[in-house]
Symmetry: C2
Subunit: 235 residues, 2 copies
């Protein structure tokens, strides 16, 4: 992963600008460039073997996504998220996922149901063998399946933006999710699926919101003990 492909000079190393944006986003989200780190255009341009222009456009986009901060005439820096923002984002997450579950329930019998059921089964297996990595991946898929299944592209769009901003804290969150929350979390997933099977929009929304809320609280507790990701990386 992250393999740098070297092409002969003269040929643009990246297929297009979208590619640069993706790479940059990954580098930020993965923590390669930690919060507070400077992102000089010229440096990045050299890295990607392009000129400043496409890098500049990518940075603008990342600023728009809330991942970096552009201080005019000074420079671009990886954004340092505050605790407050995390809380705000979780509140939004709860609302959006609740809506997604509700919409999915209203759609009635859908193929997503089988996917979700299988997801729970796999999650249980991952939990039994204490496979935290797989488990985290499954949780991720579970939530995205519901959001995508809501059949509301605008919702998915906003949700994606939100999750990108929360991704900063993945390290904190996933570790927190592990110990005691796993079993409870699976039960909550199950109750969401139950409501979906009954085609009960209100029940599905409530179950989903309860689940997200519980996860958020656990994450918040974790963020209080373990320091939030990259607090104060710059002077």
């Amino acid at each position: 992963m992250q393999e740098v492909i070297q092409l002969r000079k003269g040929v643009p190393a990246s297929a297009n600008q979208a590619s640069i944006l993706d790479k940059l986003r990954k580098l930020v989200l993965s923590g390669e460039y930690p919060p507070g780190a400077p992102l000089p255009e010229l440096f990045l341009a050299d890295q990607f073997e392009v000129s400043r222009t496409p890098v500049r456009e990518a940075l603008k986009q990342l600023e728009n996504e809330g991942l970096v901060e552009i201080r005019p005439k000074v420079g671009t820096f990886v954004r340092i998220p505050t605790r407050r923002e995390i809380v705000e984002l979780f509140q939004l997450k709860e609302s959006l996922e609740g809506l997604a579950a509700s919409l999915l329930a209203r759609r009635g019998t859908v193929p997503e149901l089988d996917i979700l059921k299988r997801n729970i089964e796999e999650s249980e297996r991952a939990e039994r063998r204490a496979d935290a990595a797989t488990y985290a991946e499954l949780v991720h898929e579970f939530h995205w399946t519901i959001v995508k299944g809501s059949d509301n592209s605008k919702l998915a769009e906003h949700y994606g933006r939100l999750m990108n901003q929360l991704a900063y804290h993945r390290i904190v969150l996933e570790t927190v999710e592990r110990p005691a929350r796993m079993r409870a979390s699976i039960r909550e997933h199950q109750s969401v699926v139950d409501a979906l099977m009954e085609k009960d929009p209100v029940g599905a929304e409530l179950a989903m919101r309860g689940h997200v809320s519980a996860s958020s609280l656990a994450a918040a507790r974790g963020a209080d003990t373990g320091n939030a990701a990259g607090e104060k990386t710059q002077a």
Copy 2:
């Protein structure tokens, strides 16, 4: 309105790039450039008396906001929204405003309550003298007061993006809001405020969602009879 200010050559007509973005956004939202209209960089650069670069960056941002569509190597066009998107956006609106009302109620006694009460009084006066323009403005303020009052900047951010996309349809929506909805809408606003006064998050959320939902349905009915804004402006 829309007066083009001519400045002497050499002095940038716009203070900075943010200014260009705002102007462009206004031009698109106001319908100056209708859905489907092309937005060539060079043309706009001449309009604003700047080079293509800042225009280009503004267009990128507008694409990100969902207002324009950039077709690579072809051109930029004002986005043509679909009916489906409108429905999706209203679903999101309901959810976000419900969350906002809930959060505001949780804050307890807040100065926003007085603002909302005054807003309802003014709305009633506007309704009595059939002042649709003022009424529409008041409705707008009412909803934004609640969103801002929720004290969740991320929520406000997402809500703003959403409302920008819905603003295309302001013509349709506001005209629809007028006839029979006005009185009902005011009653619904009142019930939201009632729940807020009782510091009842659940009640406030339900009242808000009911209100948004009712408005949306009315708007959807209107959009079915009156054609959606700017359907098929291009070939």
